[in-house]
């Protein structure tokens, strides 16, 4: 999506951040916008997911706005 010019941000958990580095480099997009999430996220419950979402929402918006610069 980012290559198509659509504002995009990848949400990547801490544990998978190095893999994110690898994929971004291999796709020729080392600076693709990414936001780091705690690990794990899946299965941690609604309350935790809402708390994480609240925590990173501003960062996600800023990353998307950065795509428009």
């Amino acid at each position: 999506m980012a290559k198509l010019g659509v504002p995009a941000v990848a949400l990547v958990t801490q544990e998978f951040w190095p893999q994110g580095d690898f994929v971004a480099r291999s796709l020729g997009m080392p600076d693709v916008p990414r936001v780091k999430l705690p690990h794990p996220i899946a299965g941690t419950g609604t309350a935790n997911m809402k708390a994480v979402a609240t925590q990173v929402a501003l960062e996600v918006i800023k990353a998307l706005e950065g795509c428009l610069d």
Binding site: A42, G43, A47
Partner: protein, 359 residues
């Protein structure tokens, strides 16, 4: 006494070893006398020290012959104490090596390393892809054991190793427990060893079967579903464990699944008891599926005699998947695990040869 072959070159030696059926089918490091001597030196023991006899060929496992296998497998000298412990473990009568090597089932010895030797004689990986490629110690230690089973024990596919198909773990099958991140005491303490001990445990195991489970932090009973899934995986009706019963099997929890069970207040023993309780099938169901193995009668058949027949450890990366290894369940000792202390009191640090040095 180890046989000595002569060849014109390393390439010719490799082809000779392949032709003689002394490899696992992949290229090996040529076990030159110097390389083997260094590997023996690394063990800290005499070359003619006898570890025992390996079936089905009843070959004498001397330290030198084990060192030959370790060299061929690509082991660093540092790994030698673990290789020796693994050989000692499969030689123990409780492991039923002769029967295990000869069976038509696909069983292979899974090597589990616990204690300080994981680091000092490795490192033996316990994390992402520990049972896959890319971990030198895991790959070569397991391969060394297999080469001893072939070249000392005499197991040859279709002649003395009658596994109908085998499985990839028969090339190598070795990992460490992730003791540092596990919420449970290390496996070897459950087996009666001290935490400071270094221990190799071998258990005849099928290839790893994946068990998917996503936790649900909103569900206080989320651990129940995980236990159900693990039980289905390790003793579904198609396994020997369900049909023949009473053989030890292995459960490798990933960190998330271990965390779910730990937060539910379960100890390792509790987990084993919970899975054990779930691993039973109505005799009528088993009879319908396979009358030859399950007579028509009332009641249920339990896959495991007791929770002790489930080896539970934590390893692997963080995610949705744990692994279970159902087992063969036959032999005099019914697929029992065997553990051996890693003895590196006399082990020597050996410098590794650089590229091109033949020793």
């Amino acid at each position: 006494m180890t046989d000595l072959f002569r060849a014109e070159s390393e390439e010719a030696a490799l082809e000779d070893l392949h032709t003689r059926g002394l490899t696992d089918g992949l290229p090996v490091v040529i076990p030159t006398p110097d390389r083997v001597s260094q590997m023996v030196l690394a063990s800290g023991q005499e070359a003619d020290m006898v570890l025992g006899t390996m079936g089905p060929g009843h070959g004498l496992a001397t330290m030198e012959k084990v060192a030959v296998a370790a060299v061929m497998a690509g082991c660093l000298p540092d790994y030698m104490p673990i290789v020796v412990a693994a050989v000692k473990a499969v030689i123990e009568p409780v492991f039923d090596l002769t029967e295990m090597q000869a069976t038509t089932h696909c069983t292979a010895p899974l090597i589990i390393v616990n204690g300080p030797a994981r680091i000092s004689c490795g490192p033996v990986s316990s994390g992402y892809g520990a049972l896959g490629p890319g971990h030198r110690a895991n790959a070569s230690i397991g391969r060394a054991l297999r080469l001893t089973m072939m070249n000392i024990g005499g197991a040859r596919p279709g002649a003395s190793d009658m596994a109908l198909l085998g499985h990839p773990g028969k090339f190598t099958y070795c990992l460490a427990e992730d003791e540092e991140n596990s919420p449970f005491p290390p496996l070897h303490t459950t087996l009666g060893f001290d935490k400071e001990d270094s221990v190799v445990t071998v258990i005849g195991a099928e290839a790893p079967h994946s068990v998917i489970h996503s936790g649900d932090g909103d569900d206080p009973k989320q651990h129940e579903g995980l236990l159900d899934m693990l039980a289905i995986g390790v003793a579904n009706p198609a396994t020997n464990n369900a049909m023949l019963s009473s053989g030890t099997a292995t459960v490798v929890l990933n960190p998330e699944h271990a965390g779910i069970l730990h937060r539910a207040g379960l100890s390792r023993d509790d987990i084993a008891a919970e899975i054990c309780e779930r691993c039973q099938h109505p005799n009528a169901e088993l009879h319908q599926l396979s009358p030859g193995f399950a007579p028509s009668q009332a009641g249920v058949r339990k896959a495991f005699r007791s929770p002790e027949q489930l080896l539970i450890l934590m390893a692997g990366g963080s995610g949705l998947y744990s692994m279970v290894m159902p087992s063969w369940c036959a032999g005099t000792h019914r697929n029992s695990p065997s553990s051996s202390l890693v003895d590196f009191e006399f082990a020597c640090e050996i410098p590794v040869h650089g590229p091109g040095e033949l020793g």
